[in-house]
Amino acid sequence: MTVRRIIVEPRGLASLRLTLTVPLLSVLAALVIGGVFLWITGDNPFTVYGHMVDAAFGSSRGVSETLISATPLILTGLAAALAFKMLVWNIGAEGQFLLGAIVAAGIAIAMGDTIPAVLAAPVVIVAGAVGGALWAAISAFPRVYLGTNEIITTLMLNFIALNLMNYLIFGSSSPWRDPLVSTFPTGRPIPDAASLPRFFNRLDVGIFIAIAVAVFAWYLVNRTRWGFEVRVVGDSPETARYAGIQVPRKILGVFLLSGAFAGLAGALFVAGPVGALDPRSLDLGLGFTGIIVAALARLNALAVIPVAILMGALNNAGPSLQSIGVPPEIVTMLQGAILIFAVGGEFFIANRLRRPELPPDVLATGAAA
């Protein structure tokens, strides 16, 4: 018998069912991989996963904390989704997030309680978005005007931003640092006027801002001329150039907007649950997790919302695992595995697999046998 190779053909538009099935299977496959490692290291995966579901959704406090964790992930997810859609490889949401947090906390502390809350909170939030956009600009302008590889520059800027935050809190007596705490330095609490109002346990209105931005981003990409041009550039920069689209300006715009989303995430996190420039609460890898959110949401701005809630649930459940003696890093592992399967799954969404059709004589003998 001859070996029949599998033929791979590009698929046109994949069905909705398939585009939903692949991400779901990615999550399931990642849980299996995580389960194997849990089992090897002596834990019952079902107990651990059950504990995680309970921590993330089992109580009203769990649900509110999950949504708190999801809020910045919606925005860093949008930052990655928008940029990746146009093949702008902004890997720097992490740094842009931190700059948003630094600028937002700085403005909030500088304004103090002199400005009424209706004004102060919006100013702080917008300032954070601008901070993120400016940090992205350091990579965006060389990329557009000099052709400098943005993957490396955005990555390196993550570490510079992290050290900048650490400098402001641990390395100096900056206005960001709490002057009342001397033993182990932390951030100065932002004034009440700049803090976002809470409505459900610790959950604040930041979640609505994040959802509104997701809807805005979806509309922008799918329903406006600007978004159409962005998608054309993403599909084929050559076509875009021939069609008269100003590609450099598009790249610049997408890059800065992507940075603004990440910066906004940092601002909302500072003005909401964290309430200060606290390195221990901000250095969580939320920028990188945003890339996972974007990939699993297949770069769709609306799909980013439920995926961010799933990732937020994982992040929220992680620390609670210490009480049953499981390292919380299982969460990073699961998220990494989810991304591996999600990106691998793109192959099955883009391609159709089939057996080659057999020549008629083989079919005839096959039928005879």
């Binding site: 002596g42 890093e329 990073t332 592992m333």
Partner: protein
Amino acid sequence: MNDSQLILTIVAAIGLGTPLIFATVGEIITERAGILNLGVQGTMLVGAVTGFWATFQTGSLTLGILASLLAGAAFSVIHAFASITLRVSQIVSGLALTIFGTGLASFLGKAGSDPLVGEPARDQFDAIISGGIADWPVVGPLIFGHDILVYVAWIAAGAASYYLFRTRMGLSLRAVGEDPASAESAGVNVAWVRYVHVMAGGALAGLGGAYYPLALVPTWQDNPIGAAGWIAIALVILASWRPWRALFAAYLFGAAARIQFTLQTLGEPWSSIPATILAMIPFVLAIIAMIALTSGKRARFLGAPAALGIPYFREQR
């Protein structure tokens, strides 16, 4: 004289640069095949935890190093499969590898009833020559006073350079990275060449990772490698995809990582520069070098493999 700050700094730079050489040479080999692997950071961490664990279990450094090489190669197969067979985005696949590897290494270091974290290494790499020529002025500490892996790194850079530019297989490798379709029609199995070199690169990254807990700081701590994997990816470009240049680029960054200790010995005002500011230096250096080297017309002379990062479809010939 051998205790002068300059000598001590250079010696420290060589130590800190050694794992960067392994990772950078590995990534050069991978990228020469046309595959961009952003999973270096994760692969180094998996190599580090595996190597440390193997030495911890057996007491043998040789087995630790072998384990780190195997773990690095095996781990990078994930990226090879995604980027070569499935032909999905190499950038996202590499990032996935790093996130997974970072979590996996941390998890394995902390899991179980008797976790590795905080345990000292059962054995560690020390200078292979003590006294004698290792005490000679200047050349003693700079050339003869190192552990075996420092010399292995020199050999690795030299061997990789020879392999790339002086052997038939190296020629095939470069052809695959420059123009896979032509290489295929000349009888080269593109997919096979790419798989092998992604795995070779992963093995070297794993070895580089293991250098941290087995030589530099002989204990297991969470993320012992800092951001070395990311630095290595920048070093590939600074070395313009040439292994010999990686040697010098890695030592330069080793020196940059060491600078805060050196400045502290120089007294005021140098010693008052905050550590957090000095920690930025390698990253600022990488950005400046990136902009200076890869911008505009200069990029063309740098020597990036032409097919780097582009999935190869055999059917499209």
